[in-house]
């Protein structure tokens, strides 16, 4: 792991100059500077609401596309916690997750409820709780699902769900938990009532598993694997079920197809964002849009894209045309 000192010193000098330039820019500019573009494009996620009229920006703001106006989301008061936002399938509820064991439900319109503590189901397996992980997702608009595992041990998963209406936790059998490609499950997206995309990571690889999952109606072996894809890097991926006669998923990531089994994303920045149609029945991936600005997300009606550029959120139509950008609020520029 030893790095030649001269190389380190030269690198440090360059990095210091970059940092100095960035600091100077931040003191002079109210909004993002071009130097921040690469970092910002990958760290300010955008999510369209179903209506296509609003975007969630950086887990902090609700952006009205027509009014070009940012409204702050009501976040939990503890500012030192890096809360992650989980939007319910009906787009009406927000779940704030501290990344460890606390959840705070709220509404997209601003209310914040009492905090919920996730039970420690792994403790009965004598697992070191400091290395345990909770993966949280909305099973549907009434139920939050939690899967637990120990990041350092191949012990069985533990899982259960929380009903919003009666505020009750229910643990389900370990063999009914999700079974991702890699042990380190880190995200689950609901595509329909019973179709879910599992995101898991192993040694730099990134697996996407499309599964049918029905834990509320079955007690064991509730997962059916419908398709799997491996990416060579942990890039941001957005998935959306496509309407049509055959089961297809829209995959939005900065990657290109390759001849091997693994999709190439390592040089993602040079490849641009692309949206592919993944036919689950045949496994075929077909490009729908390529060479999009990094981080682009397609509106639900597929009429326009949104992405983050140096100075703000930009909205444009597929295939070109006018692009309208609105400056990001200060809180995001200082992230």
């Amino acid at each position: 792991m030893r790095v030649p000192e001269k190389q380190v010193n030269a690198t440090m000098l360059v990095m210091f100059l970059v940092l100095l330039a960035a600091c100077r820019a931040m003191t002079q500019e109210r909004f993002l500077t071009p130097a921040d573009n690469q970092y910002k494009a990958t760290t300010v996620p955008l999510v369209w609401l179903h209506t296509g009229k609003h975007l969630l920006v950086g887990d902090q703001w609700l952006f009205s596309v027509d009014e070009k106006k940012f409204s702050p989301l009501t976040r939990p008061e503890e500012e030192k916690v890096l809360w992650a936002l989980l939007l319910s399938p009906d787009n009406k509820q927000i779940l704030w997750f501290d990344g460890k064991k606390r959840l705070i439900p709220g509404g997209i319109e601003g209310n914040i409820n009492d905090s919920i503590v996730i039970p420690s189901w792994l403790s009965d397996k004598h697992i070191n709780i400091t290395t345990s992980v909770n993966v949280v997702f909305w099973l549907n608009e009434h139920v939050i699902f939690v899967q637990q595992f120990d990041a350092e041990q191949p012990a069985p998963y533990a899982c259960g769900y929380f009903r919003i209406d009666n505020e009750q936790w229910t643990r389900i059998p370990d063999n009914a938990c999700l079974e991702p490609s890699f042990l380190h499950l880190f995200k689950v997206s609901a595509l329909t009532d019973d179709l879910f995309m599992l995101y898991s990571a192993g040694e730099g690889l990134h697996a996407l598993d499309l599964v049918k999952f029905t834990p509320l109606t079955q007690t064991a072996a509730t997962q059916t694997l419908l398709g799997e894809i491996t990416l060579d890097a942990l890039v941001p991926v957005q998935t959306q079920i496509q309407t049509g006669n055959t089961l297809a998923v829209s995959l939005n990531f900065p990657c290109k197809l390759a001849s091997g089994k693994t999709i190439r994303c390592i040089e993602a920045g040079k490849q641009g964002q692309a949206i592919y149609e993944w036919s689950v029945n045949t496994g075929a991936l077909k490009p729908r849009w390529t060479d999009l600005p990094e981080g682009s997300v397609l509106s639900p009606d597929e009429q326009r894209f949104a992405w983050v550029q140096a100075d703000g959120v930009c909205i444009g139509k597929p295939g070109g045309g006018a692009v309208v950008c609105t400056q990001l609020p200060v809180s995001l520029s200082l992230q």
Partner: protein, 182 residues
């Protein structure tokens, strides 16, 4: 490695000349998922590791060099969680299987790195909240730091203030699974 055979030879030769431990990671990184391991066999994976060794022997001989062999090994992907494969590496390949003590990446990339803004370094996520011991192995996978040079430099700078970086060699003999050095 996306390099020409000559570049591969020069890189590995340099690693050997500088005294680094050289790990066998198999030839084609397959299987990697738990599902892949369950549908494979230890003899198939053993062949992949032996093939990788043979490729380097051939590569070095083409350049009139002598490949001194691997000193440790690591199964791709989730192989570390598959006990029969780890046992195969130790008992049949006769190499210790290498793990790590601490992992770093960037905030929000992987759920198991839950200590975000680790030690106050914005953007860095760690598998534990404390500094590694000087004898720990640290995993910082290059794939996770694209476009985050400033964050990575900040982390390394902070680490170097508190821990001593050493070359991972020699690997102790007689260990089937190591988090080096024991």
């Amino acid at each position: 490695m996306e390099r020409s055979p000559k570049q591969q030879y020069l890189l590995v030769k340099r690693m050997i000349d500088e005294g680094h431990a050289l790990g066998n990671h198999g030839y084609d990184h397959d299987p990697a998922t738990r599902r892949g391991y369950k549908s494979s066999t230890t003899s198939e994976v053993k062949k992949d590791f032996l093939d990788n060794h043979d490729k380097f022997v051939t590569l070095f001989s083409k350049h009139k060099g002598k490949f001194t062999g691997f000193t440790c090994a690591r199964l791709p992907g989730d192989g570390r969680f598959m006990h029969e494969y780890v046992a195969m590496i130790a008992n049949e390949i006769k190499l210790p299987h290498v793990g790590w003590n601490v992992e770093f990446s960037t905030n929000g990339l992987m759920g198991h790195l839950k200590h975000k803004d680790w030690q106050g370094i914005k953007g860095v996520a760690g598998s534990r909240d404390t500094f590694p011991a000087s004898t720990n192995i640290i995993l910082m996978h290059d794939r996770h730091w694209r476009g985050k040079d400033i964050v990575l430099t900040g982390l390394i700078k902070q680490l170097k203030k508190n821990v001593i970086f050493q070359t991972l060699t020699p690997v102790p003999s007689g260990h089937s699974v190591i988090k080096y050095p024991k």
